[in-house]
Amino acid sequence: MPLFAKVKNPLELVKSLRDYLLVLEQHGSGSKKAEKAVEESSKILQQIKSILYGSGDHEPQTELAAQLAQEFYNFDMPFHIIKNLANLDFEAKKDVAQIFNNILRRQIGVRSPTVEYICTKSDILFMLVRGYDNPDIALNCGVMLRECIKHELLAKIVLESESFYSFYTYVELSTFDIASDAFSTFKELLTRHKVLCAQFLEGSYDKVFDKYHVLLNSENYVTRRQSLKLLGELLLDRHNYTVMTRYISNPENLKMIMNMLRDKSRNIQFEAFHVFKVFVANPNKAKPIQDILLKNQERLVDFLMKFHNDRTEDEQFNDEKQFLIKQIKEMSEGDGGKVGGAVGGATS
């Protein structure tokens, strides 16, 4: 039961898709012409999808898929469909994401032709980032963007651009699913390619962490909890050693984390503990850090003795807590920061 009178070849499909997208661009939405263009684009996208993924009993058509990818580059299709994504209908948007990701994953030997293509058209990446501005396409764009940044080259472009900093706004969006999708992308960007990430964090330290502190102090419980957790992960990753030492020698950071240890939320207290331990376990504490800890020595010991005592099952946590208590107890004025000589599992 052929749904379409005539099966088009990849060139024809891509050509007519481009034509319909042009119509959308020129006429905006609402007009009769635009309506037809939306409808026709959906149909073409379905056909393209079934070439790439197969459909029903049909396997994907490898040869056609290769041709299709080639035509996509020739016609700048990835750029055009993303540009017009918001004008397409609900299902077509999802199809676009699937098609895009499939073509992105294509490999010829060790080469990834689509990655090479996007490197020359970095606007595609920035359009995807801006997708978070529009709730209608935010999640579709997120799916495509995350596939992109799996490739180090593409992640680098995003990290090194100004558009990276818009994530600090996106992760605080009020709609939970969009904000948390943006957060996953943000986290991927900061953790996936270890060496690249470490270089980036070192190079852009001030800007990254100034803004990061806004997240840690967010009104939004989820933002606070997620960003605190990520902070702990970043500091404990050995690739980020330089960043970690810099972070834990700043007394302002210590003060903030100590306040979070007393947050109303137990989950936040717990995540804060995992950042706090890095400050204490550091064998070469900066003077200001040492001063704060010494000044609060007794109170801290008291506090830690009572801290999450019901967490009896978490052996590692209890060991770490005991270690911290010992470290803080043994601190004294003349130590010159050499206190924590034996660094436990905490920082290594």
Partner: protein
């Protein structure tokens, strides 16, 4: 395959007006006026609310993120799945936002409640010969199928289809709900190239397809078709066919017996439903309940079944079904289950699978009378009754096990099936006991939760909090034990099945011990999170099992951590090469100075339990 199926039946509903531009919903708490609670669970309540700007009723699921046990990512996945759906037969998700430490999920209010509520309500009025009439059932199923078809073409599997997850709107609309366990079939947003079968053990046992229980074969969207068939029987008879059995037995019956039919239900319930349901209906159910998933029809194919030509529009459901439904306000006090929080096997933070179904625990109080005496034995592991206990001692080793060499003149006369079944029974009793304890703890938790809702200031009191945490810890401990049991039980169930197949294939085999496969009973000794040494025992069938697959099974059962997978697999192979040699190896991240391979701190050990006995 086109996304929109060729309509086989003319439109059941009058042509809907052009699709309204999607309405916008604010993310401000003040815009929602909370009303009656219509459901509650351990970490969430569902409430009716009025969206003030439009004076429109909605349902809000309030999830307490401080208590929520799965990761935030899991929650995000669930919501993404919902927002990726746009179909009249799939629950309408509007928006979600954070209010203090709660997540509010705003959804369409389905004021008819779940189909399960309706079934139960009808049953209170007596239901000789069938709960819902065939025209009602086929109409509801027809709508369910359309939602299911949409799901499947999206590359999603629902994985927990049952009457409890089918919601009815005030206009008679039928919608699939509870995506708590549903998952993408191929990668993020259906992006993966291949349709990778899934291996995770989720769903509610009574509705669960055999291949989902089996775990060794993987499953696809056809698993939902099995559940669909069970749901059809549920609508006719009021319960899933094996609802009155404990979960372990359900697994066994599903794996071992021929698929359930309406006849099976007649026998089990002592009722005769046959006269009220057509041959065509029974045939349709049979097609869905075939053990070989590839033989089951797809949702698209099912929609073409002539049976559904008789299906009607939602108007009909509104008239016939909602007339029989309990009112929303009456449910407000009665309904205990909340979509997404209970009534299924779900994953805990530790990655283990646990059951939490209030209905189920109520229903399987039908165990044998020996229960008490048998349970009394539980503390003495090698009970004199000769019944194999939990950590089976070598002498009672089940399975067509065989000694590696000459000494093999074992008790081959003993029926291996019977010994396995015996072992299963013990496991089931143990399971039941654990389940009771868990239910008890859950009850206490629920009570705590209720106090909290009524008196929010309690949240801040230390004693209240520590009570809650204490309960949680207790329950998690029990749940971990339960996982162990589930894992052992699965192994036995699979073995039983294999045994059956091998007996069918070769009747001689039973008398021929040499033909039996060599089975090594292996124990993995390692420390639990509570630092107790525990043995995890499993069978390794030489020539059939691989170290990799076994390690993956252990992982799937929550007995291993992801990072331990490779090292355990590698050491299983090492052990198999030289079964007489214990293997000790490093696991976990214990600080160097504490490592101790004698006390197994930071180490685990693998050894063979049963050689030559």
């Amino acid at each position: 395959m086109a996304r929109v199926p060729e309509p086989v039946v003319e439109d059941k509903d009058p042509p809907s007006p052009p699709k309204p531009v999607s309405k916008t919903w604010s993310n401000k708490k003040e815009d929602y006026e909370l009303k009656d609670v219509i459901g509650s669970g351990a970490t969430a309540v569902v409430q009716v609310a009025v969206y003030v700007p439009r004076n429109e009723k909605v349902a809000i699921k309030r999830i307490d993120l401080e208590q929520y046990k799965s990761s935030m990512e899991e929650l995000q996945k669930e919501i993404n799945l919902m927002s990726n759906c746009n179909h009249p037969n799939v629950i309408n998700y509007y928006t979600s936002f954070v209010v203090r430490h709660e997540l509010w999920l705003v959804m369409k209010l389905m004021s008819g409640g779940s189909l399960l509520d309706i079934i139960k309500h009808v049953m209170t009025k007596g239901n000789k010969g069938g709960v819902l009439d065939e025209p009602v059932i086929t109409t509801i199923l027809y709508h369910v199928l359309q939602g299911l078809e949409y799901f499947h073409t999206n590359g999603q599997i629902h994985r927990d289809l049952k009457a409890g997850n089918i919601l009815i709107g005030e206009d008679g609309a039928v919608q699939l709900a509870d995506f708590g366990v549903s998952n993408w079939l191929y990668g993020e947003a259906g992006g993966g190239k291949k349709r990778n079968p899934r291996y995770t053990f989720v769903g509610t046992p009574c509705w669960m397809a055999p291949e989902v229980m089996d775990q060794s074969v993987g499953y696809d969207s056809k698993a939902d078709i099995w559940s669909f068939g069970i749901t059809a029987l549920e609508m006719a008879t009021g319960t899933a066919p094996y609802a009155k059995f404990p979960p372990m037995k359900v697994l066994m019956l599903t794996l071992e017996n021929p698929p359930p039919t309406l006849d099976t239900c007649c026998e089990l319930n002592g009722e005769d439903y046959r006269k009220n349901y057509s041959k065509a209906f029974q045939k349709m159910v049979e097609k869905c309940l075939q053990k070989d998933p590839s033989k089951r029809p797809s949702a698209t194919e099912l929609l073409k079944n002539p049976l559904f030509k008789k299906a009607k529009g939602k108007e009909f459901i509104k008239e016939v079904v909602l007339g029989n439904a309990p009112s929303l306000s009456s449910r407000a006090t009665k309904v205990k289950r909340v979509p997404g929080t209970s009534g299924r096997l779900h994953k805990t933070e530790e990655g283990g699978w646990v059951w939490s179904d209030e209905e189920m625990t109520e229903e399987y109080e039908v165990e044998d009378d020996n229960k008490k005496t048998k349970l009394a034995n539980k503390s003495t592991p090698s009970s004199s009754s000769g019944v194999t206990t939990l950590q089976a001692s070598p002498s009672s080793s089940p399975a067509p096990s065989s000694a590696p060499s000459s000494t093999s003149a074992p008790t081959q006369s003993q029926d291996p099936g019977a010994s396995l079944t015996g072992e299963l029974q013990v496991l089931m009793l143990k399971m039941k006991e654990l389940q009771d304890q868990i239910t008890d703890i859950r009850g206490q938790e629920q009570e705590l939760m209720t106090q909290q809702i009524q008196n929010p200031t309690l949240l801040t009191t230390q004693s209240h909090q520590s009570k809650a945490v204490q309960l949680l810890n207790q329950r998690q401990e029990k749940e971990r034990e339960q996982q162990q049991l589930i894992f052992q039980q699965q192994q036995i169930a699979v073995k039983l099945q294999q045994l059956q197949i091998s007996l069918q294939n070769d009747p001689q085999q039973k008398q021929d011990p040499s033909a039996a496969k060599k089975v090594l009973k292996i124990a993995l000794r390692k420390r639990t999170e509570q630092n107790q040494l525990k043995d995890i025992k499993f069978d390794y069938i030489i020539g059939t099992d691989t170290a990799d697959a076994i390690a993956k099974d252990l992982l799937a059962a929550g007995l291993l951590e992801g990072r331990e997978l490779v090292v355990v697999a590698a050491n299983i192979s090492k052990l198999i090469e030289n079964p007489s040699q214990k293997v000790t190896f490093q696991v976990g991240n214990v600080p160097q100075e504490q490592l101790d391979d004698k006390k197994l701190i930071g180490y685990a050990q693998l050894y063979v339990v049963n050689t030559d006995k």
